[in-house]
């Protein structure tokens, strides 16, 4: 086996309670963790920002029904073309959840935090969360291009196909 990319090991998991007729909702599990980044986001923020967390959780559920329309996301939170964007709670409030939007039919949820700085690069926690999603996007793009382990998008653009385990090793 050889390392083919960065050291970020992760797997994608679908969140069936949030997936609906509008969009398929995925999240990311890092390394040997057993909690998704989205669940960790809830755990980390519900104590201090319960109302804001509920707003985002309710928004994700609505996206599952309505679809991941571009207008619901704050775009361009990552590199050009990598699809990294953010969901936020109430208008003019600051809780951010970083995501990768692949189409109206599919989104991957990461983690996030309260944004009290002008740019995420100015906050170590936000920066880490955004960079994880940038790396996830990069590895997914590489696998789609290489058709590694038959990884790709389903014809209806609603699901990933092939192995969802990104362990950085080529078998």
């Amino acid at each position: 086996m050889k390392v083919i990319n960065s050291e970020l090991n992760f797997r994608l998991v679908e969140l069936p309670e949030f997936t609906g007729r509008g969009a398929t909702i995925y999240s990311v599990v890092l390394g040997s963790d057993d909690v998704t980044l989205f669940d960790q986001f809830v755990i980390d923020n519900e104590g201090a920002y319960g109302e804001e967390v509920d707003e985002i959780v309710g928004t994700v559920a609505a996206i599952g029904q309505i679809g991941a329309r571009w207008q619901f996301f704050k775009p361009n939170e990552g590199l050009p073309g990598d699809g990294v964007c953010a969901l936020y709670d109430f208008e003019n409030r600051k809780l951010r959840l970083y995501c990768i939007r692949y189409s109206k039919f599919m989104v991957i949820l990461g983690s996030g935090a309260m944004k009290n700085v002008r740019a995420w690069q100015d906050d170590p926690n936000l920066s880490q969360n955004a960079q994880i999603m940038m790396e996830v996007s990069k590895q997914i793009a590489a696998r789609i291009q290489d058709r590694f382990d038959d990884f790709g998008l389903s014809e209806d653009l609603r699901n990933f196909t092939g192995t969802l385990n990104f362990n950085n090793y080529e078998h």
Binding site: E55, F72, Y88
Partner: protein, 121 residues
């Protein structure tokens, strides 16, 4: 890590007041409908902003699904987009309350009902 922590998002979702979930869904459906009206008119967001005398960033907020519109803004938007967003239905049918009309271009299957917002364990 126990199961409750593993599925914190599901626990949280199940504990949101169904009325609040419905409000979030309706707000986002209205935003989606407004954007479809904009597209049907062949307008960019900038065009809509200019028609309303607003800054484009304000239009982005309105279309984000996070904005809680007041009636005057809805009348303003409806006039600009050429659609009836707010109307008065006859008292014998809807007890005279104002109702939002957004059933023309949004997929009716995306309408989330109150019962759907109350998910079971």
């Amino acid at each position: 890590m126990n199961t409750n922590e593993k599925r914190a998002s599901v626990r949280r979702l199940q504990n949101i007041d169904p009325q609040k979930r419905l409000a979030i869904s309706r707000r986002m459906q209205l935003a989606a409908y407004l954007d479809e009206c904009r597209v049907a008119k062949g307008w960019s967001q900038k065009d809509l902003a200019e028609a309303l005398g607003k800054h484009p960033s304000e239009i982005s907020k309105w279309l984000s699904g996070t904005h809680n519109f007041n009636m005057e803004t809805l009348w303003l938007l409806g006039d600009a987009l050429g659609v009836d967003l707010v109307t008065m239905s006859p008292p014998e049918r809807r007890t005279g309350k104002m109702v939002l009309l957004m059933n023309k271009t949004i997929d009716k299957h995306s309408e989330m009902t109150l019962s759907e917002c109350s998910i079971s364990n």
